[in-house]
């Protein structure tokens, strides 16, 4: 799913970074094989959706904190593991030992004090480092021209509203790139229509839950054009697994073009009039909206510009004629347990309907 656009635009790491990466790779490989230290992911290049390859300020802040915390923990591990291994080997009973008991030591105030105070100091440092990042991310002041998006979690898809532009789309979030001198962060309000969900695109920001009857928020300011993948990270029901999040970061021009296209009403083409009638005469219109028609349902995704999206069913299948047809005929074949009913249309109606859907660009 990694976009070629993103990797070509990514800055080349300088020598020092490369060197650091290479040595980390060796250490991490050995460590993860032996002791399960989670450093292995650092060595992946180009990284998939991982927090170790951030492209947005909140993810950057977390990335730097994570390197610090991992280093501290790795150091503690090496010291304490070394001591345990040393004691376990050095003080084992040997065949040559006599039967008498070793000296009975009951404790030592100095030593105990030391291993109380040192951890307290480490904890204080970790707390301060975390508190700084919490403040930097959660309490950040966004500029007034930040793009406002409202994300609404549904079983099992994402609704994205752009209140500033007055349109609604689904499953694929488009935001402008936010670069030095032309900062345009995106402020995302998180709501839920049914159960809990969680908005998680690791390269852009940490996750924040979407909870019914509650307003949460998060923000991103992606520095690189590209396609970033995430998915729902809070169990929300049968199809929690197929609730992907696709975020497209566009250049300002591309973003404006996309906005203009999304704002336009649905294309009304004569040759697809039959399919449109099928849509309007069946239950489709109860759940889906197609701007400029009578279909105003909000239970399912807005289909006004369906064909501008690359996937259907929240990332469960590529958006092409074959899959659209299958989706209308038998949604469970793509996403078993999803809330879209099989409409039981006849062959002719399905063909007309799919032909109509294919015109919704």
């Amino acid at each position: 799913m990694h976009s070629p656009v993103a990797s070509s635009i990514r800055a080349t790491p300088n020598g020092l970074q490369r060197c650091a990466q290479a040595s980390l790779r060796c250490v991490a490989l050995a460590a993860s094989t032996l002791f399960g230290l989670p450093l292995r992911a650092l060595s992946l290049d180009p990284a998939p959706a991982t927090l170790f390859n951030p492209v947005s300020t909140p993810a950057h802040e977390i990335y730097h904190l994570s390197l610090f915390v991992i280093s501290v923990c790795a150091a503690i591990f090496l010291v304490v593991f070394g001591l345990i291994a040393y004691a376990a080997v050095k003080y084992r009973r040997r065949p040559t030992d006599d039967d008498c008991e070793p000296p009975q030591i009951y404790g030592s105030n100095q030593v105990e004090l030391a291993w109380t105070i040192i951890p307290i100091l480490i904890v204080v440092v970790l707390f301060l480092a975390s508190a700084r990042v919490i403040h930097a991310v959660e309490d950040a002041e966004l500029p007034s021209d930040a793009l406002q998006v409202t994300a609404v979690g549904h079983q099992f898809w994402w609704e994205f509203r752009y209140p500033g532009y007055g349109f609604v789309t689904a499953n694929e979030l488009h935001v402008p790139v936010s670069v030095e001198g032309h900062a345009r962060p995106t402020h995302i309000v998180l709501l839920s229509a049914d159960t809990d969900h969680s908005f998680w695109v690791p390269r852009l920001a940490g996750k924040t839950d979407l909870i019914p009857n509650r307003r949460n928020e998060t923000w991103i300011d992606p520095h690189e054009v590209g396609h970033y993948v995430g998915q729902c990270a809070q169990y929300c029901g049968v199809q929690h697994a197929k609730m992907l999040l696709n975020v497209f970061v566009d250049t300002p021009d591309d973003f404006q073009k996309w906005v203009a296209q999304q704002k336009a009403p649905a294309v009304a083409s004569e040759q697809a009039a039959t399919g449109r009638r099928v849509f309007e005469n069946n239950a489709c219109m109860n759940c889906h909206t197609i701007a400029g028609t009578d279909a105003k349902g909000t239970f399912g995704p807005d289909l006004t510009h369906l064909m501008s999206r690359s996937t259907i069913a929240s990332g469960a299948a590529p958006n092409d004629e074959k899959n659209l047809r299958l989706w209308v005929e038998e949604p469970d074949a793509i996403k078993p347990g999803c809330l879209m009913p099989a409409m039981q249309l006849n062959e002719q109606d399905v063909s007309a309907l799919v032909a109509y859907l294919m015109t919704l660009r």
Partner: protein, 565 residues
């Protein structure tokens, strides 16, 4: 002043109590076990019941791992997978881990404080049977879950059952009701047992057994019992509220009528985090007994160990919202829970250092029990360190609810608690049955289990770091998760083999094991002064102790412990 010697009369080796002799008909024996109020039998029943569910929960885990081994797998349906992880989590926490640690508490605490039974033997039986009933109700959901619909099902809302997924709008049928009532009933049993352990420790200690001489095993189990009282209450309250929501038109968690989903999360984790310590303190307890005996040294820093245990008990009541860093709390609340969570690392660290201090300068005898303890130390260290990573709230925003978290808490529970439980089994099996477990099969068990554990849970951290959320029944190829998941699944086979070897070892040794004698490990606490297995009345004569290691005093009259207290 008291006399110079403790009074502990080893029981004469006249084998078992009369009612245990093997000629009774099976039905009679079964009846004896069902109506028993003997803390040792109830302890064994708790333990066996827990092991039964450990195997059941393990099979559920194996189904999940088979499904996730490769991308786009269709082995089980999403509905089945969701039931598997819900039942796995619920089973392992409430019906495997808790009964197992309660089994150890029940068996060991009265023996270690020189008592003849618990303070309330019948309440003890009541507690066990309530827990047993809870498990049966939960598993009855497989046949009764859909109620009138005629088909069975099991709960599929996840073991923490976040609202409003549990409301009638999203959870039709009765599977969630079985889940609620199963936990409600077993919770009542847990509270009964906790009260009993506390009362027993406070009131039933033998002469000379001051609080400052309590074996650490007893100290830690008592603190765990206090935590049960503090934690199960909120859970029970929340379950009742949920039942009211589902059947009496309540709106506590009904978000569509103005209820709060977040309140459920708070209630659940106010229970859920102390629960971790309810399980881990008894594991610490076992390790604190086994390491000194096999290192041939007293526990290093007894006082600070007790203080650290109490500190863990208190702090663990104030850390619950670190499970909630992603629900959108204010920055101040997040910072507070970072601080309290990181703070609990200090007393936990003290414990690890004290166990290390106990081994230091000793003559460590690597019996299987001690091998499990060393494995515990290293694995619990790693579990603690990934816990530190998760305690940093911003890092948790990335790691929370991913496979990294799943790896972390399995490190705690399997790598820590279960390893300690195995150590405890190898240590006390000779006392319980009068037979030794096989050391060579034990070593097979240890290595198979440890290799399987590391294959599974070391590599499980990685998909989490690569963005794989937990509780997904399948995933696409090409996101960097496939290979790791395969390794994780393969590790399960080794763990299952390890458990199999252990079960064979236990059954074989029960009949054919080498006779153990009263005190095979040359240990120091009171249970080793009585027969193996102990008579129904535990001690022919109530012992009198003068130090923390009464049997040391007895064996080394020239240099007794009480001189140094």
């Amino acid at each position: 002043m008291a006399e110079a010697q403790p009074i502990i009369r080893p029981m004469p080796p006249i084998a078992v109590a009369p009612e245990r002799e093997g000629t009774r008909p099976f039905v009679q024996t079964l009846h004896d076990w069902i109506v028993t109020v003997d803390h040792k039998r109830l302890g064994l029943m708790y333990f066996s019941y827990g092991i039964l569910f450990l195997v059941v929960g393990g099979i559920e885990a194996m189904v999940m791992r088979a499904q996730l081994a490769v991308a786009n797998n269709h082995l089980v349906s999403p509905e089945t997978f969701n039931r598997m992880f819900t039942m796995h989590g619920t089973t392992m926490i409430f019906f495997a881990a808790m009964p197992i640690v309660f089994g150890f508490m029940n068996y060991c605490v009265p023996l270690m404080i020189g008592a003849r039974d618990m303070a309330f033997p019948r309440l003890n039986a009541f507690g066990f049977w309530m827990s047993a009933l809870g498990g049966i109700i939960l598993y009855f959901s497989w046949v009764g879950g859909f109620g009138l619909y005629g088909a069975g099902s099991a709960p599929d809302v996840g073991w923490f059952a976040y609202a409003p997924l549990t409301s009638r709008a999203f959870s039709v049928g009765h599977s969630t009701d079985y889940w609620i009532i199963g936990l409600l009933v077993s919770g009542v049993g847990s509270i009964a047992t906790a009260l009993n352990i506390m009362t027993t420790t406070i009131c039933m200690r033998c002469p000379g057994m001051k609080l400052s001489r309590l074996p650490l095993m007893v100290w830690m189990n008592v603190v765990a019992a206090f935590l049960v009282l503090g934690a199960i209450g909120p859970l029970t309250a929340a379950q009742i509220m949920l039942l009211v929501d589902r059947y009496l038109g309540g709106h506590f968690f009904d978000t569509q009528a103005g209820g709060s989903a977040v309140i459920w999360i708070h209630f659940f984790w106010v229970f859920g985090h102390p629960e971790v310590y309810i399980l881990v303190l008894p594991a610490f307890a076992i390790v604190s007994e086994v390491i000194p005996v096999f290192s041939r040294k007293p526990i290093f820093g007894y006082n600070i160990m007790v203080a650290a245990t109490l500190a863990i008990g208190f702090i663990s009541l104030s850390v619950w919202a670190h499970h909630m860093f992603t629900v959108g709390m204010t920055s101040y609340a997040n910072a507070f829970f970072v601080a309290s969570t990181a703070a609990i690392a200090v007393p936990t660290g003290i414990k690890i250092f004290n166990w290390l201090g106990t081994m230091w300068g000793g003559k460590i005898r690597y019996s299987v029990a001690m091998m499990f303890c060393v494995g515990f130390l290293i694995q619990f260290l790693i579990a603690g360190l990934t816990g530190i990573m998760l305690s940093a709230a911003p890092f948790d925003w990335q790691l929370g609810n991913s496979y990294f978290v799943v790896a972390h808490f399995h490190y705690v529970i399997l790598g820590g608690i279960v390893m300690a439980v195995f150590a405890g089994v190898y240590y006390w099996f000779p006392k319980v049955t009068g037979k030794m477990l096989s050391e060579s099969l034990g070593k097979w068990h240890f290595w198979l289990f440890v290799i399987g554990f590391h294959l599974t849970f070391d590599f499980m951290h990685i998909p989490g770091l690569l963005g794989m959320p937990r509780r997904i029944y399948t995933y696409e190829a090409g996101r960097g998760w496939e290979g790791w998941n395969m390794i994780v699944s393969v590790g399960v086979i080794f763990q299952a083999l390890g458990i199999l070897v252990w079960v064979v070892d236990v059954i074989w040794s029960m009949y054919k094991g080498r006779p153990a004698g009263n005190d095979p490990w040359d240990a120091w606490t009171l249970e080793w002064s009585t027969t193996s297995p102990p008579a129904a009345y535990n001690f022919a004569e109530i012992p009198v102790v003068r130090s923390r290691r009464p049997l040391w005093d007895l064996k080394h009259p020239e240099d007794p412990d009480w001189k140094y207290e």
